[in-house]
Symmetry: C2
Subunit: 338 residues, 2 copies
Amino acid sequence: MREVHRIAIAGFGNVGQALAHMVAAGHPAASGIVIVGVSDPRYGTVASTEGLDAAWLLASAGDSDFGQHGAHMPEAGVLEMIEATDADTLVELTITDLETGEPAATHLRHAMSVGWNVSTTNKGPIALYYGELLELAHRNRVSLAFEGTVMSGTPVVSLARHIRSARCQALFGILNGTTNYILSQVELGVSHEEALARAQAHGFAEADPSADVDGHDAAAKLVILAEIAAGADLPIASVERVPLSSVSTDEVLAAIGDGERVRYLASLDQRQDQWHASVSPRRLPDSDPLARVVDAGNGVTFRTELLGDVTLFGPGAGPSETAFAVLSDLEGIQRASV
Amino acid sequence: MREVHRIAIAGFGNVGQALAHMVAAGHPAASGIVIVGVSDPRYGTVASTEGLDAAWLLASAGDSDFGQHGAHMPEAGVLEMIEATDADTLVELTITDLETGEPAATHLRHAMSVGWNVSTTNKGPIALYYGELLELAHRNRVSLAFEGTVMSGTPVVSLARHIRSARCQALFGILNGTTNYILSQVELGVSHEEALARAQAHGFAEADPSADVDGHDAAAKLVILAEIAAGADLPIASVERVPLSSVSTDEVLAAIGDGERVRYLASLDQRQDQWHASVSPRRLPDSDPLARVVDAGNGVTFRTELLGDVTLFGPGAGPSETAFAVLSDLEGIQRASV
């Protein structure tokens, strides 16, 4: 039933490899997908309109690089890969830069300009350049899909699109798994430092966790949801950020005694007809659904005129969860192009 | 930006009137919608390819009937309305019959056979005849949309479609607002009978509440979600139903003492490779997100292979909430037909 979907992958880290694993294993959710190019600074660039063997790509990335492949392109990067092959969709999975959106923004622009659809899990270009990229997609009659930029594969971007016509007036989210995990540990009596070390040991906090604990990551996700759910066009820099460290262990534990919970809350609301966005540690009553999000979970409440509150919980990270977001994007692209 | 969407309405009760109110008020979510026919046994049938005045329809339904309209069709019903006008979409809002699915099923079949899209909030035909109706939609190249059949305007049907490729292995839902309201009241010390009377006074329990308290309503909704999220084709009669009255006030209160909550749970899981579906009062640990659904709220957890648990909370009933479901359907239909 499912048609062939030819993809080229920019960035072959955990998510790209999880995707390749599903293709190699013949997972039903990945059926019809053919990988026609992969480019990653660590492994090199291969491109073949015939399709590449997903198991070979994984083995080569595990061993060394793509140098042994006949279709290996020495010195080439993502742009050369795009020129060298022919895909339906560029899957953009490079590392996020919230200052410039690069190199992802350049990859997305180039792919759309040659008529490819794009699916990205990279928050940078979407949080920084959504309007421009959407216009480019319209002009080239291609799809711009980015379900994986927020809450990994939990379909919150899709939900945000549905919510928009219910008139979103505010939204509240736990959008960063690392900081929620730290707070959950602190609630159990673990010190802030030890909790961060555990998050790093689990692999969901970076060696430099500042994007998480200073709110940059959540701010970028909030900007994306604000745009899709509420049509609010906010620069990332306009999001007020209060670091997680501003709340002490004593304050976290005291909240529990008062029937409340401290959560690192991303919030959007309106004040005198202006949107106001912030990321900060906040007390929530125990009855608030978001107070129940524990460990590395994520959750968002959309407050709307027509539906009241609608809340979604789900995973916020993980290689296969994020790979599923890409598969959702590809499915949506395929539906749109029938 | 939005194109004109011509709709004919079968059943002009609370939901149809809420929809007409939004059209009459020029609500942005209803922009572009033109009502070209309305049929209801209480008010009669009017049809006009020119479009009908929504405010006039509401006033006439409030006062008496549609007899004063030049386009009034004495003796006519929904089928005659379909013949007499030309709509993009039939909006089917007649009263649910879970035994036969009628008269809605006949209305939907007829509308699709003449090339109209359909949007319905009526659980009966979808729970009973989904496969047949979907095939009819494909054959006639029209859309079959039914977001409002479960959780009113909370986009759970749309979420269920996204979840399907994540491989739904089980689902758990609080799908009936009346019974959850009764349980919430009982938790506060109100008797079961008094709680039911209050639900009736609030207008969300029917005079004959058996569809709610015996689990028929939740069973039909469960069958719909099971089909969309998991591809499980279950007859309504196969859903094991245990009435709400099987749990006593003492048991509800005892659960709270044990850090648990009794909820009237619709559940789908697999047992020896067979789907098993039930609606019954069940104890949930307080940490379960569904334990936190109170009053007339609804919630569903989809348990999936690729994403783990994904949970959605939102309103389960209400005229304007359900009217919003229709607007979501119409938006989806419009996107599909571009």
